[in-house]
Symmetry: C2
Subunit: 166 residues, 2 copies
Amino acid sequence: MTDKDPVQPTDDEARALARSLLHDATFGALAVIDAATGAPSVTRIAIGTDPTGAPVTLISRLATHHTALTADNRCALLLGEPGPKGDPLTHPRMTLHCTAEFVASGTEAHAALRAHYLASRPKSKLYIDFPDFTFLRFTITGGLLNGGFGRAFRLAPADLVAALTG
Amino acid sequence: MTDKDPVQPTDDEARALARSLLHDATFGALAVIDAATGAPSVTRIAIGTDPTGAPVTLISRLATHHTALTADNRCALLLGEPGPKGDPLTHPRMTLHCTAEFVASGTEAHAALRAHYLASRPKSKLYIDFPDFTFLRFTITGGLLNGGFGRAFRLAPADLVAALTG
């Protein structure tokens, strides 16, 4: 790749930062591969968590990323949105590489997810039951944390699991 | 794709919104295809414009997206960052599908781009001449504007060109 790897060994401070970025996220950028062209695309989506702490979203079946994920469920999330102050490019953020699974309505898993999502995002009651909306659950396969200039760390799923169970 | 296309005909108001999102962007999300896995990835990058108004960025050769774009220069940008108030998911944003070209240093094009970028982003003088940093220019091939709930518009390169020449 390169002859100089700028990535540092992942430590507990990095893990805590990654877990807080996931826990605090309310929206993020979702990257997918366009089914028709094979080119990448990226869109803004709502982010919540399921009862185990895994990232989830609620998207419309009319969205182009729904079509993309139906054809190829590999995707990536960018989480960690800058606030109104400071340099956005030094604000901590992370890329999570994931696979996305649709959660079918009418199942127990859907009912539990719906209740959890509504509790944490009350405004979603406006559209959560729209017939064209569907839940996606993300399974994290790896990631990269950028804690600011010169602070890059590789993330394994286990680095975020503490947040999912604690 | 779907039996119901939620995309409206692109009008002058939509074009003006798209041009302002491009003009005002200082950072955004860049989606690429990972060279090793073929899966999508997404990262936060600085966004500026070249003297013609086309989007550009300055990235490190050590970054994984540099490796990805060297192998496959198809990419996508998400521009239009929410402010501190209001619902981030109703804030206007757009996806631009692009190809990315590296701008070699030591060329006239690089000198003009460097001067323009420095003028608009003075803080970049801290790293603009680092040997591992390189400019990327994005050529827009199409896009999708989301002006808020129910306000989606497809974008052709010409919809943004008025900003590039005006």
